[in-house]
């Protein structure tokens, strides 16, 4: 088990290096000059001297390879550079905004679990019932409505028309509800379907038949046995989606003026604030890698066959 974990952690290193390379390459493929973007953002017709000075300040006058090596060395020391726009360390800017994003992510995960488990469960055990149809409807909606539009709809109904929640801002739990719900919606759609399918599959298993012949009450079979096994794919889904949640937060944060780092990233893209873009992409990559690792470990804990299989293959 320990060697397995160790090996998994080691594989993260090359993947991360590849991620730095790809990010760096992509940013440099873009024809836009960050120095030019700096002045364009300020609506100033910059002179050549001013552009030259900015390029030097950003280190853009050095050869690409040196720029790349410098970047990687700095990142290894957890230094993501200085933001082109605000002149402050990128890490400082990002870490100030992470708590808000985490709060939003947690809120939506909670909503997603609390809504999708009961709906998925009942939709599964009562196939083609009213609740099953409802879950199907919910899934189609959740999977197909873009979150920015959903956000506007929520604001319009719950905030402007019904006056239940504030339109934007932070501070109280009321501020959290609408953005979390918006972010949770696609997840609800996904998890409900996942759980429903898994329950249907388990219903075919012989242990269910056996339990029935033992004369156990139907609710007991479903609640105590089927749900416990069927929920396992959902846990995998949860972990896999942690990264998606953070990236999905970009749009939701912009719509609800949520002061998180997704919105900060969006602004950085418009301003060609390269160090910020780089840091964001790398953090997102890191998050995907780590959350996948954690999910694998949890899976292994739930079902030791996975790690045994791994050993047998070697």
């Amino acid at each position: 088990m320990a060697t397995y974990v160790f090996k998994r952690i080691i594989t993260i290193v090359p993947i991360f290096l590849i991620a730095t390379f790809i990010t760096f390459g992509m940013i440099n493929l873009s024809p836009v000059d960050p120095a030019e973007a700096y002045f364009a953002a300020a609506h100033i017709q910059a002179t050549d001297e001013a552009l030259e000075q900015k390029r030097h300040e950003f280190g853009l006058d050095q050869p690409l390879l040196i720029q790349y090596v410098n970047t990687v060395i700095k990142i290894c020391q957890f230094d993501f550079g200085i933001s082109y726009v605000t002149n402050k360390p990128v890490w400082e800017e990002i870490s100030a905004r992470i708590p808000a994003t985490i709060q939003l992510t947690i809120g939506s995960l909670l909503i997603a679990i609390l809504v999708s488990v009961p709906i998925g469960f009942f939709a599964g055990i009562k196939k083609n019932s009213g609740i099953d149809h409802f879950s199907r409807f919910l899934s189609f909606i959740g999977a197909s409505i873009p979150s920015f539009w959903l956000g506007y709809l929520f604001i319009f109904f719950f905030s402007v028309k019904l006056d239940l929640f504030p339109v934007e801002g932070t501070g109280t739990w009321e501020h959290l509800i609408l953005p979390s719900l918006t972010l949770a919606f696609p997840l609800i759609a996904l998890y409900t379907r996942l759980l429903r399918a898994s329950i249907l599959e388990n219903l075919q298993e012989s242990y269910v038949l056996f339990a029935r012949t033992r004369g156990l009450h139907e609710m007991v079979i479903m609640g105590k046995h089927v749900l416990r096994i069927a929920i396992s794919p959902m846990i995998t889904g949860l972990g896999m989606n942690l990264g998606n949640l953070l990236t999905g937060a970009i749009i939701v944060e912009a719509v609800f003026s949520w002061p998180g780092f997704g919105r900060y990233f969006l602004e950085a893209i418009f301003n060609r604030d390269v160090p910020v873009i780089q840091a964001y992409v790398l953090l997102a990559a890191g998050l995907f890698l780590i959350s996948n690792l954690i999910v694998d470990l949890i899976q292994m804990y739930i079902d030791p066959r996975i790690s045994r299989k791994g050993r047998q293959l070697q």
């Binding site: 002149n87 709060q103 604001i155 402007v160 504030p166 934007e168 739990w173 416990r228 959902m234």
Partner: protein
């Protein structure tokens, strides 16, 4: 083993709830933010964070917020009148190189320190440490010396006469004055300021990055005290959310250029429950034709394109009355621009077709695009894809010009690409708009004369371009008012008459406010805040 999954799910829920509670506790303190609404406060939304309020730098500080806290020596009033502000008066030497400013003696910074010639010099010197960086503002790179004559007299010496100096002193940045306590140890403000200490009518009271900023009225302000006690600026990046927040009543005022969509503005206006205003023209939206391109090098083609579309209908249709049809390449409310003698072009399809025929671009039988020596008359127009007005105008022009046998290809690009391609002369047609008050007309003509900014190369086919450039070089140096006016009239008239710069519409600002907001007026300076005269009924 079977218990594990459910256990884990319950654990996840428990941990998440605890974490959430932890997160919400830390920010529970700013509840009063919405509670304190009833007092004499104006709540306003802006797309971006107000930034660090550094008067000597550009990003991320926002112009309107900088102008609330910091003040200029000279202010730009209605009709382009330059009025005394922190400088009570000024004397200009006859050679136009020496400027003597007599400063107001009753001005204090918000921390109680006094405003005097010493601090003026200190600010100038901090700006001049980055002279290249500020070189876009003409007079900065012409400064030879800054001197303190006595406590309230400051002298600025230039290397050559430059009349727009006084006008450029009204610009929101970089020449506004930071108090002693705001300077960092080494005096270099380009890396940041210690705290925002200014002489302006507003003082930053509370600030949360990316969320809001509260400005308090400066009770010791030397000038006219604002009517409103507090201004709350909420940072709302999304235009539709701004509209919804306004409809819900969380905002008192929306103001600016392009802050909400035209549809939203008209929809809110049509409800009749809000006050609305539209400003005087702040800039002209222009279409620039690159005369180095074969098909646009002929003046007759350029004129034909101007005659060949219904400008009034285009502007009305695209902007629903928020912009106004423009007949001149600069708005006529700017200094020296009201007396330009050009023939205004009226929509005339026959004339357009006749001009194209004369230029040799004939319509072959059975075809829809004109040709000359087998080459079809095709032009490419570049627009900023993030600007819906440019996009819709481009599409309309495409349809209109198809009617006179011109094929217009339209290409949407990002703002920075648009700027870069314009500067590199890699375009056929482009949208541009001038800078507005207090930068124009001199900044606009200067950009035209300077190589590498796009215009200089774009008007290469003008037979009198060297004459235009030499007049532009002269206009900022002359000390004779009448001669200056004459030069501007010649330059602007000639630029427009030959058709490479085509005025489309006058860009305006909009404001929409609740009925209890009164006396809203637009500042004459495009970048200045509008809050001084506004009042809110309690």
């Amino acid at each position: 083993m079977l218990r594990k999954p459910v256990l884990i799910i319950s654990m996840i829920i428990l941990i998440l709830s605890l974490a959430l509670m932890g997160c919400s506790n830390e920010s529970a303190e700013n509840k009063e933010d919405t509670a304190g609404k009833s007092d004499n406060t104006l709540t306003f939304a802006w797309p971006r964070d107000i930034g660090e309020l550094n008067p000597h730098m550009y990003n991320p500080s926002q112009l309107f917020s900088t102008s609330m806290v910091y003040e200029p020596l000279v202010s730009f009033g209605d009709g382009g009148e330059l009025q005394p502000h922190l400088a009570e008066s000024w004397d200009i030497s006859t050679d136009g190189k020496e400027y003597l400013f007599h400063l107001r003696q009753d001005v204090k910074f918000s921390d109680g320190t006094s405003f005097n010639a010493e601090i003026v010099k200190k600010n100038f010197d901090a700006i001049l440490k980055n002279v290249d960086f500020h070189s876009w503002l003409g007079f900065i790179s012409k400064i030879a010396q800054t001197e303190v004559i006595d406590e309230y007299t400051f002298k600025l010496t230039l290397t050559e006469p430059y009349y727009p100096t006084i006008q450029e002193l009204a610009v929101v940045r970089p020449v506004r004055f930071l108090g002693e306590a705001g300077f960092p140890q080494d005096g270099d403000t380009s890396k940041g300021v210690e705290k925002p200490v200014g002489t302006g009518p507003w003082v930053l009271d509370e600030y949360k990055v990316d969320e809001y900023a509260v400005f308090k009225r400066n009770e010791d302000y030397w000038g006219e005290l604002p009517n409103v006690e507090k201004i709350t600026v909420k940072v709302i990046p999304d235009a539709e959310t701004r509209v919804l927040a306004f409809e819900k009543g969380e905002l008192d005022l929306l103001y600016g250029e392009g802050v909400i969509s035209i549809d939203s503005f008209n929809q809110l206006k049509s409800t009749g429950s809000y006050g609305t205003s539209i400003s005087e023209p702040v800039a002209t939206r222009q279409l620039v034709m690159n005369t180095t391109k074969e098909q646009l090098s002929d003046e007759r083609v350029r004129q034909a394109l101007h005659y060949g579309f219904n400008k009034a209908a285009l502007v009305e249709g695209v902007t629903s009355g928020l912009e106004e049809k423009a007949d001149y390449i600069l708005p006529t409310n700017l200094p020296y621009t009201s007396d330009i003698d050009v023939t205004t072009v009226k929509y005339n399809v026959e004339k357009a077709q006749q001009l194209l025929d004369e230029a040799g671009w004939k319509l072959p039988k059975g075809k829809t695009v004109r040709e000359k020596d087998g080459t079809p008359l095709e032009v490419e127009l570049m627009y900023n894809s993030a600007e819906s007005i440019q996009k819709t105008m481009a599409e309309t022009l495409q349809a209109e010009w198809a009617g006179i046998g011109v094929k217009l290809n339209i290409v949407g690009v990002e703002l920075t690409t648009q700027v870069e391609r314009f500067k590199a002369n890699e375009f056929e047609m482009n949208f541009f708009s001038n800078y507005g008050a207090p930068y124009d007309p001199h900044s606009f003509v200067n950009v035209i004369a300077t190589e590498g900014f796009g215009f200089n190369e774009a008007i290469s086919a003008y037979p009198n371009k060297d004459e235009i450039f030499s007049k532009i070089a002269k206009v900022t140096q002359t000390t004779d008012e009448a001669e200056r006016q004459q030069l501007y009239s010649d330059i602007l008239g000639s630029l427009q008459e030959q058709g490479a710069i085509l005025p489309i519409s006058y860009i305006k600002k909009i404001a929409i406010y609740k009925k209890d907001v009164s006396n809203f007026t637009f500042p004459a300076n495009r970048d200045e805040h509008p809050f001084t005269g506004v009042s809110v009924k309690e």
